[in-house]
Symmetry: C2
Subunit: 247 residues, 2 copies
């Protein structure tokens, strides 16, 4: 099994993150419904940067201090005290271009801070809207990778594993993958890829039901659409910015 | 989604067990390679009972005290100080009939004790060799179920998720399943069921490689064979015994 390829692992839940060494590792934060889909969209539509914070209180405080847009959700709804939610459709070019967004979400921003606290080499965020940007970056970097699923309150979810599987399917020839979670994720993706919306509907994915109850089918379809906001959100100096040019 | 069916959840790793309420719940301990395959086999071949313990020291001490057979493994090999290992082929009728076995393993017996400590309603153990016995019991009981994968040192593994998926596929009409891990497990099983050995070999499952390196292909094939040791190991008064008759 020894070769010169870097390793790739998948962590299906934040509660399993500690099992993986993430020093000198690129950690991809995955929260398909909807944090990392919204992050890609806001940056694609010209947001200056996104500041992820791990609590509503910090979001409100920082938003006031730097006069930024505050946004986020708890349990799928706009959190009390914040102006905007976690839907990619809220962040059109007209609205977000040139602005700074302070964002907090139930699972995605929490995992991002866990990865930073544990000394991740680099942190990027991915979802179907920026699938190709993620894959190209990982292939170019030739560094160890951890695909970190944000899950739902630590319970493994379908859509984040699906995205991990999509990445693995595209990049696997470039990595040494000795990780059953990765094999499971890829199998899941291969079953779903011809109709991802139909797959997660048919499998009664819990988050699908949660969002559908809020009337958010449109968000679900968007978050599962590859490459419609194809930028690479890269964490640097406390902010997520678009990583341009030579990686 | 409301109906009168009991719930069923899948915990893919012992590190996720705390996310599930297991009071008044039947917990199925799953450690396909090889603890729960070996437990089914030893009981099928007439072992009086199996006493699962969570450390090698306890195994040695108790084995001496009650003059039982001591067995177990650490990292896939017979643990130092114990007489026998964790291969189902060690427990033939000639050898084990009428005897008591004290057993400790890397993952399976650890999870079993976690489930007991957290107040599980009932604890049973399952693997492919006793698949039908497990499914029949779960359908008859009409109680909440948690399928608990033993995993490998908390990392999710292919074979335990496969078995969870096999159970789900057989019992799902009788349960209310609102759990993405269960949907993932069933998808995995549906991909694998026509050739489970080929599937986990092709997917380079980590435990497949580990056992193959020890020359244990025969064990792998056995542990993936449905219903060749079709008993129901039931935990009662500190021991696993065969549950007979009316459940």
């Amino acid at each position: 099994m020894s070769n010169n390829k870097p390793t790739l692992y998948t962590s299906p839940s934040p509660a399993l993150l500690d099992l993986y060494d993430i020093n000198n590792t690129i950690v991809v934060i995955i929260d398909v419904f909807r944090a990392t889909s919204t992050i890609a969209t806001a940056l694609y539509n010209g947001a200056k940067c996104i500041i992820p914070v791990d609590s509503v209180a910090k979001c409100i405080e920082l938003g006031k201090k730097i006069e930024a847009i505050t946004a986020g959700e708890r349990d799928g709804k706009i959190a009390e005290g914040l102006e905007y939610g976690n839907s990619p459709f809220e962040y059109s070019k007209e609205f977000i271009s040139g602005k700074t967004l302070v964002l907090t979400t139930t699972n995605g921003t929490k995992l991002l801070h866990m990865a930073l606290d544990r000394g991740a080499g680099h942190v990027i965020t991915g979802s179907f809207p920026n699938l190709s940007a993620i894959c190209e970056y990982l292939i170019q970097q030739k560094q160890p990778v951890l695909l970190g699923c944000a899950a739902w309150k630590d319970r493994v979810n379908m859509e984040d594993m699906l995205f991990a599987g999509a990445v693995i399917h595209q990049v696997k020839e470039h990595f040494n993958i000795n990780c059953d979670s990765s094999g499971i994720a890829e199998t899941l993706y291969l079953n779903a890829k011809s109709d991802m919306y139909g797959f997660i509907k048919d499998k009664q994915a819990t988050h699908f039901q949660r969002l559908t109850n809020f009337g958010l089918e449109k968000d679900i379809r968007y978050c599962l659409t590859p490459d419609i906001a194809n930028v690479l959100p890269f964490y640097e100096d406390g902010k997520l910015v678009v990583h341009n040019g030579q990686y």
